[in-house]
Assembly symmetry: C2
Homo-oligomer: 467 residues x 2
């Protein structure tokens, strides 16, 4: 045990049975959703209140022990790995919805509330929370990773849907970053400093979120295209025409082949757009007609669409199955996903060049994209016990990222930096990363908050090294 | 002259004639748009490039001289006043539009480009930049003050429309906070740290902005209501019904009386909504019909509306004249404006109680609001040579702000903190202000960047005190 016994004793005194050092609990808290090297914490705690989180923060800081905030473990860049040991702070027990204000289109939740739980809770209000990263993630974790997903093109990311956060700072102070007003010009924007802070600046314990009206009608549409270019150009044209597409996913031919094989579909093995439109009945019909015409102009194939909930689910099934389908491409293998985002005008070029590069790759590597945002994912299916495969994936990933950066894009549109992209963050933003480091050290001078993530810091706390 | 001669000599060597110490130039740089105590800089410089700004920053920092970034001087909370003397850095000469990317819906501008200049420049692309604070402000200044305005309810504020900034840091480093991708999860959000930073963290020299498609049709509508409550409730209902109102301004009865007197209108002297709707022809008609029905339900009076550009201007004239009309209420007096923003559900209560409180105020004090956001303004018309009047206005202002804070609102929806609201920022966010101070001092340890604004800092640079 690298965490000093005195720290464990203090945590035990604070939380009783809600401290665990069992192998299975530690194992579960040592990895996130895509493959990275497992790195287990020495202990896991389960606080229920902001005050308990303050206690944990104080104990870890004073004991010089790393502290890693943990939601549902569905991040994807190794955000929760305890790379220097320490204590994982699992907030999933903090799952109270504290307030719902339908007239104000907002709500306040504890950090461990999951997005599906929230949407079920508020369904009768006619409102919903739109950000959907796929996983049923915690809203605290989604805030900390600036989560995004399939309908960001219409509703934005967490950056656009968080009004305020309550945070326990590294020194144990508790702050609220803003009031519940929809608009404010009051001081430095600490809310956005914490959205996407990946646990390195404190522990988010409450989040105030914007809500949106459930649209009168939602329609889904699926259409194959002769090329990635034709599909992306259709989307660009649609956005330029002001069609407020709600969701817009592109799966490439490799991905379509995988879902056909996995789910027994017989989709054309061609780049395929999965779309959703919402609004009033008349408005959605108008959008669908405009989109159908645009797709036809680009040589799109059969345009299937429906407003029926069950039929919509069927149409989107292939998209929902994509991760399983990718995994099924090679038995016993794991997924390692990566993403970039480029200006829309460069998306075709970036996706096409990446696919061309991948022709020489020995690993299955389907691509899919939130193309309305210029954001796409590449998923390697690899044998993680084989270093050569990991190295090969890393090389293709690096080339894709450098290609995106050369196009004025970013090394990650929505996955974050975590462990996986620290060097690429420096390649992307250079001296701005030094500013991030200054801010981090101003608030966490001993670097005990999720050390080893996002920004490299010389020295810093490692469990067992400083007591 | 409080700025050391050696500093002036260095600036002169760097910028030649683009350094001014003339009384008229200093006077012009010692005030912003609403009344605050005049505080003139000792010198004004006019850099043309980021490199020149670096030179100015280095000279001021090394000379321990305050540096105040200056755009068009149309801020309203004393943001540009040189309260400790020093050098005003006027970026209006940095007025190049560096890139327009119609396919990506974005552009890059130097900080001194004004919003009307940008919109004229890009008109042929079918795109426009929506944020409209009233004044023809510089986009760098609008970024630094997190500007907002009449159509924020539809298009958001600067917070939602800035993709990246180039900043000269207090230590002379230059950073770009993000790439041009529409979405990113790459590291701490420095872009939002600088949006609304009021010049205390560095000088913004370039801004990457989102653009939006010019709507097919824009319609304006004006309708009076028997009460503030009826007007606000109409707006809340409209927003809940999903009507995407583009602009939505409420002028109270006092304000309507003022514009009638000033412009010779014969509007009912009642709370009146000025609205704009945009979208497709069919969509706008649908919105107007829904809005008309909602207004009728709330006892609204004659519902005037039009899609004709000239008629629209006529309908909105009263709103555009409001500042002049307020000023005309008392000859020789000045305007002192203040704003708060509350959750929409509390807006009626906050406006009504404020109006009731003002019944005992000896100063004319019309109110108008961006009611779709819960944001409203109170404008005192006062004799600034009369301390009793200033004190009276301050007292009513303080009560309005404390009322808004008690309703979970903010002390400023869009005006910012500047000189005028430093104490209220502390009342609003408490310990979070200490965090802002830590971040400020991490980046500007000698506090020479716009000292005296937003956050009180002990000591700090004052021109002439440290050499």
């Amino acid at each position: 045990m690298a965490v000093p016994q005195s720290v464990l004793d203090s945590l035990k005194q604070l939380l009783g049975d809600r401290l665990s050092t069992s192998a299975s609990v530690r194992e579960q808290h040592g990895r996130d959703e895509f493959w990275h090297h497992q790195a287990e914490p020495d202990a896991v705690v389960f606080p229920l209140t902001t005050e308990e989180v303050v206690g944990v923060v104080d104990i870890c800081r004073d004991g010089a022990v790393p502290l890693i905030p943990f939601g549902t473990g569905t991040s994807v860049e190794g955000h929760v790995q305890a790379v220097h040991g320490g204590v994982s702070v699992d907030v999933t027990g903090m799952d109270s919805i504290l307030a719902v204000n339908p007239l104000d289109f907002d709500c306040i939740v504890q950090a461990g509330v999951r997005r599906k739980q929230l949407n079920e809770h508020i369904r009768d209000t006619g409102l919903f929370f739109p950000v959907d990263p796929g996983a049923d993630a915690s809203l605290g974790g989604m805030t900390a990773t600036r989560a995004s997903g399939t309908n960001a093109v219409r509703y934005g990311t967490m950056k656009d849907n968080v009004l305020a956060v309550k945070v326990v700072l590294p020194d144990g102070r508790v702050i609220d970053t803003a009031r519940r007003a929809k608009k404010t010009a009051a001081g430095l924007d600490l809310t956005h400093l914490y959205i996407g802070s990946e646990g390195i600046l404190g522990v988010i314990t409450e989040v105030t979120l914007k809500l949106h009206g459930i649209p009168e009608v939602t329609s889904a549409a699926v259409v194959p295209f002769p090329s990635v270019e034709a599909a992306v150009d259709s989307v660009v044209t649609a956005i330029q025409s002001g069609i407020p597409i709600a969701r817009c996913e592109l799966m490439d031919a490799v991905m379509m082949g995988a879902v056909n094989a996995y789910s027994g579909f017989d989709y054309p093995v061609e780049p395929t757009l999965f779309m959703e439109f919402d609004g009033t009945k008349r408005g959605v019909e108008e959008q669908i007609e405009m989109m159908r015409a645009i797709a036809e102009d680009q040589g799109g194939g059969e345009f299937q669409w429906t407003s029926d909930q069950e039929e919509r689910n069927r149409l989107w099934q292939a998209r929902h199955d994509s991760a399983y389908a990718a995994k099924a491409l090679r038995e016993g293998c794991e997924l390692w996903g990566t993403d970039v985002c480029v200006p829309l005008s460069r998306l075709t070029e970036c996706m096409t060049e990446t696919r061309k590069d991948l022709e020489s790759c020995s690993l299955p590597a389907p691509m899919l994209g939130h193309v309305g945002d210029g954001n796409f994912h590449l998923i390697f299916v690899l044998d993680t016990s084989n270093d050569a495969e990991i190295k090969e994936a890393e090389e293709y990933n690096e080339r894709m990222i450098m290609r995106a950066l050369a196009m004025d894009g970013t090394c990650t549109g929505e996955h974050g930096i975590g462990l996986g992209k620290k060097d690429f963050l420096v390649a992307e933003l250079g001296p701005a990363v030094d500013v991030m480091r200054q801010l981090k050290l101003a608030l966490d001078p001993t670097n005990f908050m999720n050390p080893g993530k996002m920004i490299e810091i010389e020295g810093g706390v490692r469990a067992g090294e400083v007591t």
